[in-house]
């Protein structure tokens, strides 16, 4: 069976990764907007 620590690690990793994804998009759009490369 998958171990408890694997399961917990997977879930926490997924949540943190998703959150970082939102942050990355914000950083990227600010960068694109400053450089005038949005679209």
């Amino acid at each position: 069976m998958f171990s408890p620590s694997f399961l917990q690690g997977l879930i926490v990793l997924a949540l943190v990764w998703t959150g970082l994804g939102a942050l990355a998009l914000v950083v990227l759009i600010v960068r694109d907007w400053i450089k005038g490369t949005l679209w």
Partner: protein
């Protein structure tokens, strides 16, 4: 959640109308940038990394992702969540295709341009048939999900809710074209990501992992199994389904043409990375249902049921339904708008312009495009209204789109093929895959379709190949 509405119909109407006005307003505003047909269909071919990544990711996050991922977790356990996540590999691999797509079709507009170029009229017609079946069933299943969602959360009747969601998406797509679609996708993607993290975070704070693990190991041990043949098959089946969907569909090809050349590969790669954790982050809450004592009455409502329960426990009460509605509405809208735009582009360029041979004058393009988008919307409404289980048509399309994987790869990267063999492989792969769906199970269908097509495509390189013209 499944037994009674989380909010009143009036609140539900208010939220969807406010969000709808926001998207339509932005659609009108951004639509002013579309001065030409190319601007309308491809957002000027100049989309940057942030908007490019977000639109690819948001389009791929559908209500299926947020609603089915918990069901996968509930039925197939840890492997179920991971199986769903493999759909992100399609976006990541497509990043490798984009430079070649832009090289092969520097003035390309739709995926149909590629199929006509490499596989002639018959191949193009076959592609149109498969992609229309797939795209329409995806679009209609989103509309149906929207109606079901509003009924479950607000008590608004299915027909009214489904109509409202479709009308909003049709309006901002027809006013703004791909500019509106991509712009709203960015906002919707942020809402989706933040919403998933918020709800998932609440579940984690209310869960004692050790106790939860013990509970699942005692009452649902199969969910934690490593050797689970059906789940392992589902992993590869889903992955190939994802490959087939992304590699062939005009939703992705239009984005490949819309993004700046240097940006497109990175944007698709990043979108895949952003998408990968979402089925796990959205799906694991189903595993928390048992340990938290949440009763799941309807399997397909697992996600909203658990989300509402944990937000209720956290004292958020009425906000629970509102947040769930907003996140799910965004996940639906971000896909519906893309499908409306991409499908109408295919109908305009490939069917109206290509198959029927009618020239589209620049000055009449917007009117014609608006008519086609509205027409596709009406067709989706007519198919969604009877509430047939169209989602099954979407799943059945798995082997059909899976059978296009290798023909796309061959058309992009090989110099010589036996075209007839490739096309025969698509037809046979589709047929045998659909047969496998009904006889062996859904988790084998795309494997069979892609596998058969692969054999024929590889054979086409060895048996009487001819150079692509």
């Amino acid at each position: 959640m499944a037994a009674q509405a989380a909010m009143s119909p009036a609140t539900g109407w208010a939220i969807v109308i406010v969000l709808g006005l926001l998207w339509v307003g932005l659609g009108v505003f951004w639509g002013r940038k579309a001065k030409t047909s190319e601007g309308f269909m491809l957002a000027g071919r100049n989309v940057g990394l942030s908007l490019g990544s977000a639109t690819a990711m948001a389009t791929w996050v559908t209500s299926n992702t947020t609603m089915l991922a918990p069901v996968f977790a509930l039925t197939l356990g840890v492997w179920g969540m991971l199986a769903y996540s493999t759909a992100s590999f399609g976006l990541i691999l497509f990043a490798l295709f984009v430079p070649r797509i832009r090289q092969l079709l520097p003035a390309g507009v739709t995926a149909g341009d590629f199929f006509r170029l490499r596989y002639g009229s018959f191949g193009w017609a076959l592609f149109l048939l498969i992609t229309m079946l797939y795209s329409l069933s995806w679009l209609v299943s989103m509309a149906i999900a929207g109606g079901d969602l509003l009924l479950a959360l607000t008590g608004i009747s299915y027909l009214q809710g489904m109509t409202l969601i479709l009308v909003v998406c049709v309006l901002y797509t027809l006013f703004g074209g791909l500019f509106a679609v991509i712009g709203t996708d960015f906002l919707q993607s942020l809402i989706i990501l933040v919403g998933i993290v918020f709800i998932g975070g609440l579940v984690v704070t209310q869960l004692d992992f050790a106790e939860a693990y013990e509970h699942i190991a005692t009452y649902q041990p199969s969910l934690l199994k490593i050797a689970m043949p059906a789940a392992l098959l589902a992993v590869f089946n889903n992955m190939l389904f994802g490959f087939g969907e992304v590699f062939h569909n005009n939703v992705w090809w239009s984005r490949a043409f819309a993004m700046r050349k240097d940006v497109a590969p990175r944007a698709f790669f990043l979108s895949g990375l952003l998408w990968f954790p979402i089925p796990i982050a959205a799906g694991f809450i189903a595993l928390a249902a048992g340990p938290l004592g949440i009763n799941i009455v309807a399997e397909n409502q697992t996600g909203p049921t658990v989300a509402a329960a944990v937000m209720g426990n956290a004292g958020l009460g009425a906000m629970a339904g509102i947040l769930i509605l907003i996140v799910l509405f965004c996940s639906m809208a971000s896909s519906i708008d893309s499908l409306l735009a991409a499908t109408s582009d295919l109908l305009l360029k490939d069917v109206h312009g290509g198959l029927l041979g009618r020239q589209i004058r620049e000055e009449s393009f917007r009117k014609l495009a608006a008519g086609v988008i509205v027409g596709v919307g009406i067709l989706a409404w007519l198919l969604a209204a009877p509430h047939w289980p169209i989602i099954n048509a979407l799943f059945i399309s798995g082997p059909l789109v899976g059978s296009l994987i290798w023909p796309v790869i061959a058309g992009l990267f090989w110099k010589r093929v036996n075209r007839s063999l490739v096309l025969a492989g698509i037809i046979l792969g589709s047929g045998l895959g659909v047969t496998a769906y009904f006889t062996l199970g859904w988790f084998t269908a795309t494997l069979v379709g892609a596998g058969v097509s692969m054999l024929f495509t590889i054979a086409s390189r060895l048996i009487a190949p001819k150079a692509f013209s």
